[in-house]
Symmetry: C2
Subunit: 97 residues, 2 copies
């Protein structure tokens, strides 16, 4: 399901999943190197901590002129396969170069 | 170590640790009910996701006039017992009533 969502995302959105942090770091750096002025790092639930790691690693180790220009948190309602609805926390970190 | 740090914190700071989310939610609600206009929810590493859950549960379910007025992310250097230094991501969520 995450994979499907990812296909629809615009280029400058990096959605954090189960891969190691460094593969998302690479994704963000690639966007910024390709001329994107703004990259959005998005995550849900347990992946939120990893999203913060990714933003911090990009800013501190790789793209020194990048800034965390905005951090938003929220809640999304998701429907489980059995029809039950659950609330999941979300984060949206904006990195600006 | 977390316990020690907690003792020194001012009243309107809730530091997220290993307890269930609801005990921190209760902590934040108590502060807001006691007249605090601003409560800071802080967490490091894996606890960052739980910090977002706590802020969102307070705002959506318990204190409807509370707002997430600021979200900051950062990095802290911590020294392990063997002397090795590691970087840990941090979050600081401000809830304002």
């Amino acid at each position: 399901m995450a994979e499907q969502a990812q296909e629809k995302l615009p280029e400058n959105v990096v959605f954090i999943g189960r891969k190691p942090s460094m593969s998302y770091v690479l994704g963000v750096i690639t966007q910024l190197s390709n001329g994107q002025k703004e990259v959005f790092i998005k995550a849900r639930g347990r992946a939120i901590s990893k999203a913060v790691d990714v933003a911090e690693i990009v800013r501190r180790k790789f793209v020194q002129d990048a800034k965390i220009s905005n951090v938003e948190i929220g809640t999304e309602e998701r429907q489980l396969e059995n029809g039950q609805k659950i609330n999941v926390s979300t984060i949206n970190i904006t990195i600006t170069k």
